[in-house]
Symmetry: C2
Subunit: 198 residues, 2 copies
């Protein structure tokens, strides 16, 4: 049963992340982000298959079956959300002429999504998100971390950051700028505190 | 053209909000949140109709038409996301026997969504979100505000809060607890700072 729970948590996290990534792919005309959405959609599909299999094995009674049915409907809806996000990302992959309106949408949207890699010399490395107070310092929420070929979704305060990690973060334009400078080692954590106190 | 931009921003904000609300409706088995999702889906449908109409009026050349087509595909994808969120919420509206696994998903998910009403005596009233530093103080991000019969989506630092406003906010369990106490006037902003410094 714990594995059904884990699958459901992952389907929820992935489908939410896909919606975020798909919109940012469109607004920034980023094929990379769009391709990531496609990859994640395959992952959600296999999770949906897996949860069906596990539920069939777990059902012991009619009562069980009834509750598990609701659970499968939810997994199905999570997959629909993931599919819709993929449709959005596909518009970017097939290539489109961005209407000038997108630039305005991007500029007026107070939520930006950026992708930054932690460089040598950055103070972000070898620290946990909790220790860094990143959300408080920069207003940026890290929604996912790519480490080598694997992903960490919905990182929490105990999640450690390392050199070469790619952070996917959501927040304001000002915060995005701070986070990019922190990740490249161009400014230190102390300098950020000074900036904010000003 | 500015009205096409505004419609697109609203479709993006609404569809993202609907995904958030739909998952919270399922996890907390909340018919209220689920009904809100249904209402929002109607709104997204009419926005999609509106953007089609406006685009037809705006197209002056083949070049225009090409760019506007991409824009309409994006609006269509936003509506698909909204529809998928509605499917999720409908599971709650038709009623289901929650599997014990939901409680575990809710407890282990580090993102909670809560709805709190600002009561008389709360320090939140008559202040802007920026002035309150609510995200920094509580870790909670206000995603929407219901004021009487209308909604404010994606509020920014200039958005004012008033008594009787209902805030829809997303964050940790700890932050949710703080925000509930602030909204009911049980604790003051200073007491929160003390709690965090401890």
């Amino acid at each position: 049963m714990s594995s059904i729970k884990d699958i459901l948590i992952e389907m929820k996290n992935l489908s939410e992340l896909m919606v975020d990534l798909a919109y940012s792919a469109v607004l920034f005309n980023s094929k990379d982000a769009a391709k990531e959405v496609s990859k994640l959609e395959n992952k959600v599909n296999s999770l949906n298959y897996e949860i069906k299999k596990q539920s069939l094995v777990a059902a012991r009674s009619n009562e069980d079956a009834e509750k598990l049915t609701a659970l499968l409907e939810i997994a199905e809806a999570a997959e629909s959300i993931a599919n819709a996000a993929k449709d959005l990302a596909d518009i970017v992959i097939k290539g489109f002429k961005p209407h000038p309106v997108f630039k305005m949408v991007m500029e007026e949207s107070d939520k930006m999504i950026i992708s930054v890699k932690i460089q040598h010399g950055s103070e972000l490395s070898n620290k946990s998100l909790g220790e860094l107070f990143l959300a408080n310092r920069t207003g940026m929420r890290v929604i996912a971390i790519r480490r080598d070929e694997s992903w960490i979704y919905g990182p929490d305060k105990n999640t450690m950051l390392y050199i070469e990690d790619t952070l996917i973060a959501k927040g304001t334009e000002f915060g995005s700028d701070l986070l990019r400078k922190l990740a490249s080692g161009k400014i230190s954590l102390d300098e950020i505190s000074d900036l904010i106190d000003e």
